[in-house]
């Protein structure tokens, strides 16, 4: 079995497909940031606590890309997912061929292979429409 490696360290905690994105909350101004930083990007306060971000959000915008990128063959879907915390996460979107994408629909966080690299499986976060639907 291939080694599972996150595409970037420090963005999420994940075990066999389940986990959370890890952001930070500023104890001074309340701003939530993702990814984590040394200091709050809003007020520059240094008192930050790590937070597990919501695993459900709403589709803010999406596009189907018809040109290849460094790691993805077309067509693929990407989008911005708005979390209840008030921040938007940019992500690959899965199941877009099976489920009609619609702005405002409920999306859920998953972790899966993004691409292969030699003997490694590169793991990252993706969002997919959640089964309970939802609209604007």
């Amino acid at each position: 079995m291939k080694n599972r490696v996150p595409f970037r360290e420090g963005l999420f905690e994940e075990t066999s497909g389940k986990g959370s994105l890890i952001g930070a909350r500023c104890r001074q101004c309340g701003q939530i940031i993702f990814p984590r930083r040394e200091a709050c990007l809003n007020c520059l306060g240094q008192d930050l606590e790590p937070v597990r971000l919501s695993r459900n959000g709403k589709l803010y915008a999406y596009t189907i890309v018809h040109m290849p990128s460094e790691h993805f063959e077309p067509p693929y879907a990407i989008g911005w997912i708005e979390l209840p915390e008030g921040i938007r996460i940019f992500s690959q979107i899965r199941d877009w061929q099976e489920r009609h994408l619609k702005i405002g629909m409920d999306m859920k966080l998953c972790f899966e292979k993004l691409w292969d690299e030699e003997d490694k499986e590169i793991i990252g976060y993706v969002f997919r429409p959640s089964m309970n639907g939802g609209g604007i």
Binding site: F7, R8, L11, Q31, I32, I33, P35, L41, N42, Y60, A61, Y62, T63, I64, V65, H66, M67, S69, E70, H71, F72, Y76, I78, G79, W80, G86, I87, R88, F90, S91, Q92, I103, L114, G124
Partner: protein, 381 residues
């Protein structure tokens, strides 16, 4: 602070020139601007050269071709805003009293670079870039939301491209001189849905240049100086401050600062070159630049207000959609078009009695910010 005037501009024809190296394009535009200014090249005291994909010290290669060496020369990278940044820096070097005559050059050769045939993406390692973002997708996401939330159709957005390609037919410097129909635009191949090929600016090689002096010395060189009434450049703000991805806060704030600096308002603008990298951008920028209120932008376009002969003609050059988008040269090429318009030298695409022109560029994608940089210049006669 001294008032600054533009006394010469020059441009290459925009297009695909695989046989021309970047410095040859740049030298051609710089030579044209220097000739237009009517100055000996050796008079230039400083230079800025904007470029993204051309490699090391390209400004030295450009100006070395035409006899300009041993001066203060700074190379600039600021993505699509690079050319406007060169104008801004040259403006300040003269406004501040540091120098009396200088040149701003923007040059790009995509065809001879490693970017040939590729979509422009964020810098290597950028998180959104790694996850599949590119510059078309960036605006396709905004367009999807804009269409769905504000009930704007693809046909309406395509009309921007129809208008700008029509203007491009009248510009000898334009990459494309071909009328397009709404059907051709929406039926062209999808790049990032709902953006199709003909809603996108092409990949473009080209260069443009401008020569600047203090206004009180301009009469020595020309009877038609064009004054820089405002020059504003801003870097992007965090996207968690960006409430609505269909409205560019950066453009709105930058334009307001520029109007304040110029002592003018959007109602004073006679002609505008704005950043129509994708057709949808133009509609959104009408609102942010203050040409109309939100919800009126499609009407402004459909009523012909932004067409030649309208109240505020936009992208008379053909814009980035038709004239082309030589990334770092675009900001300077916009200034060249406005100078020709304000001097009454724009030929068939001339805006009658144009006295005030506005140029706007925005660009650069990086995780966590709305965009990299935005610039607005206001020119007046």
């Amino acid at each position: 602070m001294r008032e600054v005037a533009i006394i010469g501009v020059g441009s290459t024809v925009m297009g695909k020139f695989p046989e021309m190296l970047p410095y040859e394009l740049g030298a051609k535009a710089a030579r044209a601007a220097i000739q237009d200014a009517g100055i000996p090249p050796k008079d230039l005291q400083f230079a800025y050269c904007a470029n993204l994909y051309g490699g090391m010290v390209i400004g030295q290669a450009v100006l070395g071709e035409i006899g300009i060496t041993d001066i203060e020369l700074t190379n600039i990278e600021n993505a699509c805003t690079g050319g406007a940044t060169a104008i801004r820096k040259a403006w300040w070097d003269i406004a501040s009293g540091l120098y009396d005559i200088g040149i701003a050059v923007g040059v790009e050769s995509i065809t001879t670079s490693y970017m040939a045939g590729k979509l422009i993406t964020p810098a290597k390692g950028d998180i959104t870039g790694v996850l599949g973002m590119n510059m078309v997708a960036r605006f396709a996401l905004s367009q999807r939301r804009y269409m769905d939330m504000f009930d704007v159709s693809l046909e309406q957005i395509a009309k921007v491209s129809v208008k700008n390609h029509h203007n491009g037919c009248m510009n000898p410097y334009s990459q494309y001189k071909k009328e397009l129909t709404i059907e051709e635009i929406i039926n062209s191949r999808p790049i990032c849905e709902p953006i199709t090929l003909l809603q996108c600016c092409p990949s473009t090689d080209g260069a443009a240049a401008a020569v600047l002096v203090p206004l009180d010395l301009a009469a020595k060189y020309t009877s038609q100086p064009v004054t820089i009434a405002a020059s504003v450049l801003k870097s992007g703000d965090y996207s968690f401050h960006w409430e609505d991805m269909t409205f560019s806060d950066m453009t709105f704030k930058c334009a307001n600062s520029a109007y304040e600096m110029a002592g003018l308002g959007p109602e004073d603008v006679d002609v505008c070159e704005l950043h129509d990298a994708f057709a949808v951008n133009e509609l959104q920028h009408y609102v942010e630049l203050g040409f109309c209120r939100r919800g009126e932008e499609v009407g402004l376009l459909e009523d012909g207000a932004t067409a030649l002969g309208g109240k505020i003609p936009v992208n008379t050059s053909g814009g980035l959609l038709s004239k082309g988008h030589p990334v770092s040269a675009s900001g300077v090429a916009q200034i060249a078009e406005l100078v020709w318009q304000l001097r009454g030298q724009a030929g068939d695409r001339q805006v009658a009695n144009a006295r005030v022109g506005l140029a706007h560029v925005i660009g650069g994608e990086v995780t966590g910010l709305e965009s990299g940089a935005v610039a607005v210049h206001v020119l007046k006669t």
